[in-house]
């Protein structure tokens, strides 16, 4: 089906751009200026140069999910561009020009695809218009192919040759987007646009940026959340060669130095007395509070069989490979910042507000993000760098060391789940009651009465509650689904067992969505569900329908020699319409490794009101030898482009837990799984 999109106010030719065709946001024409170092034209969505090179502005953050590649593909598809001429440039943070740039919830493609395709389609019509004018023919007799406009009688002009003339063509009021049957770029396995830069070390993350006269900063932060410094002895710090200043800030004490090492050495020498914080708080105490907070279950029907269990999920750190950092250059009348943020537009707003500068005087260059996973929304590290640069009157490059990053995270909340369900004598579910208790501090809150169940279970109910906690929390890959789907998918397995039914057959009987049912059936088939496994090994299944996509995981696990080993993973995904199969596959591989890590290894513990783990020696994450054989099948049902970054996670830990049950007969109700509980 053709989709016709009427041009909204966002699109217009940007004046004064020489020989290039530049389509940009309508509201920004006034501030079109010289290209900035890291973004080709600050307010442009698409630029076609006279040499034929095409630059697509990427208005969402790429933290590894590949949005720089997918966005370029969406534009290139409708533009009929020559893919080899397509470049990308990250847009700076500016919601007035680009709309909201918050990157999370697997929303980038879902919210931006129509806009990006419209931009490509509009530019294509303008290039045709320019060619038709030159050839003095009707535009409708021309077509486009691989970066060229072709006439009916065999003439051709490249987009580069037409770029200047196309500026004189009006932006079309409406464009018709391609039918999926004629896609050439969308759906084609496309390698990431950044690969060459990454493998040569040229890819730029924020801490790789240098500006004239910059100084380096690291902070010492309180050992307990919300503790503050009462006395600072910085004499030895100031004696460290290269240390320039010591500056107390609300979140700790900053050491300013000529290089990172001098700053780190200076920080070592600080002697600080801390006060406040809830230093009696421990994970154990919070867990006990959560168990107390459990409210009454919804009453289940009388008769049949009732099962009941408690699940415990831990706090998790995001621990992106690139810890938080920012470079800020605050001047009297302007500010320029380089960082990797999941909301660079919010950073611009905050800086403008705090410094009292108009927004157009605040430039936020959003670099590549060395991982994000939900951590890089809040920009508090950016504001620290801005604050320090304002005080020092020099550009400041602030690094949150790994310890700062891990101990001052906005953690995936710890949760407690009391869950109860019933089946009748025929093995049909008759009730389900799930109590979801979190230690939120701040952040996620409650999720109302949505049961997050894809299954037909009469009277299913969920109740949420929270206990107070000083531990700061936030979004973590797949947000609440990382709790609720994991627990639901484990417990539905338990219910199948109670009903004396195969967990696959039980699910298939109860799944409401035909899309989800199809991927579950297919994953089971690909995995050889029902075939015998050796003793000590087992197969588990779990599924998830969310963010516009459906996925099913089948996992094979072996428990032996005091170790849980995941030996095979089969995943079937229906992303609606896949834009880049290589990207989807990568997300499923990565999401599964997160599933494996959180099922078997990772937890944050709270001790004396702060985080016990400070580095990867105690916060364990999967390594290569943990990775199983992965078989991934994309089986799209067509229609809207679905999300993928979050989709790949929630059913993974559940499928692992269910496989561990199949291997050992022991149910997993605490994450991460402790192998000593399985013997």
């Amino acid at each position: 089906m053709n989709v016709t999109v009427t041009r909204r106010s966002f699109l217009q030719i940007i004046a004064g751009t020489g020989a290039s065709l530049v389509l940009g946001s309508f509201s920004s024409v006034a501030c079109a200026g010289e290209p900035k170092k890291l973004a080709f034209v600050p307010n442009a969505f698409l630029k076609i140069d006279s040499d034929g090179s095409i630059t697509v502005s990427i208005t969402r953050s790429d933290m590894g999910q590949g949005v720089r590649t997918t966005f370029a593909m969406l534009v290139a598809e409708e533009l009929d561009a020559d893919w080899t001429k397509v470049n990308v440039a990250n847009a700076p943070g500016d919601s007035a020009l680009y709309g909201g740039q918050g990157t999370g919830g697997s929303s980038s493609t879902r919210s931006m695809n129509k806009k990006l395709r419209t931009i490509g389609a509009s530019a294509r019509l303008m290039l045709i218009g320019a060619a038709a004018k030159k050839w003095n023919v009707e535009a409708s007799t021309c077509k486009t192919e691989n970066g060229k406009v072709l006439s009916a009688d065999g003439k051709s002009l490249t987009y580069g040759e037409l770029a200047e003339a196309a500026q004189a063509i009006a932006v079309p009021d409406a464009v018709t987007l391609k039918e999926s049957s004629s896609f050439k770029v969308i759906g084609k396995a496309t390698k990431r646009v950044d690969n060459h830069d990454v493998v040569t070390g040229k890819a730029m993350f924020a801490y790789d940026v240098s500006v004239e006269g910059m100084l380096f900063a690291v902070c010492l932060r309180p050992p307990a959340f919300a503790a503050t410094q009462t006395a600072i002895d910085d004499k030895e710090t100031r004696a460290v060669p290269g240390v320039i200043d010591v500056i107390p800030i609300p979140s700790g004490i900053a050491v300013i130095a000529k290089n990172t090492w001098a700053a780190l050495k200076g920080r070592e020498k600080l002697k600080v007395t801390w006060e406040g914080g809830k230093t009696d708080v421990t994970t154990r105490m919070l867990r006990a509070d959560m168990k107390q907070a459990a409210i009454a279950h919804k009453e289940l029907p009388v008769g049949g069989k009732v099962i009941e269990a408690n699940f415990e999920l831990p706090y998790l750190a995001h621990a992106a490979m690139e810890s938080l950092n920012a470079l800020a250059d605050v001047r009297e009348d302007s500010a320029e910042v380089w960082t990797g943020s999941q909301s660079p537009d919010s950073a611009q707003n905050s800086i403008s507000r705090v410094l009292g500068l108009p927004k157009e005087k605040v430039t936020v260059h959003n670099m590549l993000l060395g991982g994000g996973f939900g951590r890089k929304f809040t920009n508090e590290w950016v504001m620290e760098a801005v604050n320090l640069s304002k005080i020092v009157k020099k550009p400041i490059k602030l690094l949150w060391t790994r310890e700062c990053d891990m101990q001052n995270d906005l953690y995936r909340p710890m949760s407690e789940h009391a869950i109860k369900a019933s089946v009748d004598d025929a093995g049909n579910p008759t009730g389900w009651s799930h109590q979801y208790i979190q230690a939120p501090g701040r952040g996620n809150g409650e999720y109302g009465s949505n049961t997050y169940l894809p299954y037909e279970i009469p009277g299913a109910a969920m109740r949420g509650a929270g206990v107070s906690s000083p531990v700061p929390t936030g979004a973590w890959r797949s947000v609440e689904h990382g709790h609720l789907i994991v627990v639901n998918e484990c417990f539905i397995d338990e219910l199948a067992h109670a009903a004396g039914q195969d967990p696959l057959a039980f699910r298939l009987k109860l799944i409401k969505s035909p899309r989800l049912k199809k991927v579950v059936e297919s994953a089971a088939k690909h995995a050889g569900w029902g075939t015998a496994m050796p003793a000590g090994s087992g197969r588990g299944i779990a599924c998830f329908d969310g963010y516009g996509s459906c996925i099913a995981h089948v996992v094979e696990a072996t428990v032996a020699d005091g170790e849980v080993k995941i030996t095979r993973m089969v995943a079937v995904v229906d992303a609606g319409t896949t834009i880049n199969p290589l990207g989807v596959e990568a997300q499923i591989q990565g999401g599964f490794m997160d599933g494996l890590s959180t099922a078997l290894k990772a937890a944050i513990t709270i001790r004396a009101g702060g985080t016990a783990e400070d580095n990867f020696d105690r916060y364990h994450w999967a390594r290569m030898s943990d990775a199983p054989k992965m078989e991934i099948f994309i089986e799209d049902s067509g229609g809207a482009f679905g999300g993928m970054g979050e989709v790949s996670y929630p059913s993974a830990p559940a499928a692992i837990a269910n496989a561990v049950f199949a291997a050992t007969g022991k149910r997993v109700r605490q994450f991460p799984i402790k192998v000593e509980d399985l013997v």
């Binding site: 493998v199 690139e322 810890s323 994450w621 290569m624 990775a627």
Partner: protein, 153 residues
């Protein structure tokens, strides 16, 4: 401040810094070779891996004073045009997600290929286990190393 002469990517550089400065920060802050990344600072994650005399070293755990005459190779010096078999294989297998750890991964693999030109699957995994990837690109890293081994023959 003392001066050290260090051989990086085939060129001798004079760097002014304290002798206890880890090579990582000398490379990044003093020589502006930013392809070598900070990940953990304590030698666990491998993001800062470089070659010293052909062996993978965590540059956060090697001080400027310890470098001595060792020939250091960073990702910037692995090949002239980014066409080392490992770099080509990384692109071919579309390995990177966020990309942050990949330069360290490639340098670890480069050391493996020098020490063990025909590694078994287990030898690849054992060597690469020293490097953490938070995006979970391990399956593709493994395949890329295997491809590079074939191409290096």
């Amino acid at each position: 401040m003392p001066t050290f002469k260090i051989n990086v990517n085939g060129k001798v550089h004079s760097v002014e810094g304290e002798g206890d400065m880890p090579l990582l920060w000398a490379l990044r802050d003093l020589l502006h070779l930013t392809g070598t990344k900070y990940g953990c600072g304590v030698g666990i994650c491998g993001a800062c891996t470089v070659l010293a005399e052909g062996y993978a070293k965590r540059s956060c755990q090697m001080t400027l004073a310890e470098v001595g005459e060792d020939k250091i190779v960073t990702i910037e010096g692995l090949s002239k045009n980014g066409d080392h078999p490992l770099q080509k294989a990384w692109v071919e297998h579309d390995v990177p997600q966020c990309g942050y750890c990949q330069t360290g991964q490639i340098m670890r693999a480069a050391s493996l290929l020098i020490q063990t030109p025909k590694p078994t699957d287990d030898e690849i995994k054992e060597a690469m286990d020293s490097n953490l990837c938070r995006c979970g690109t391990y399956v593709r890293i493994f395949e890329a190393v295997k491809t590079a081994v074939k191409e290096s023959k």
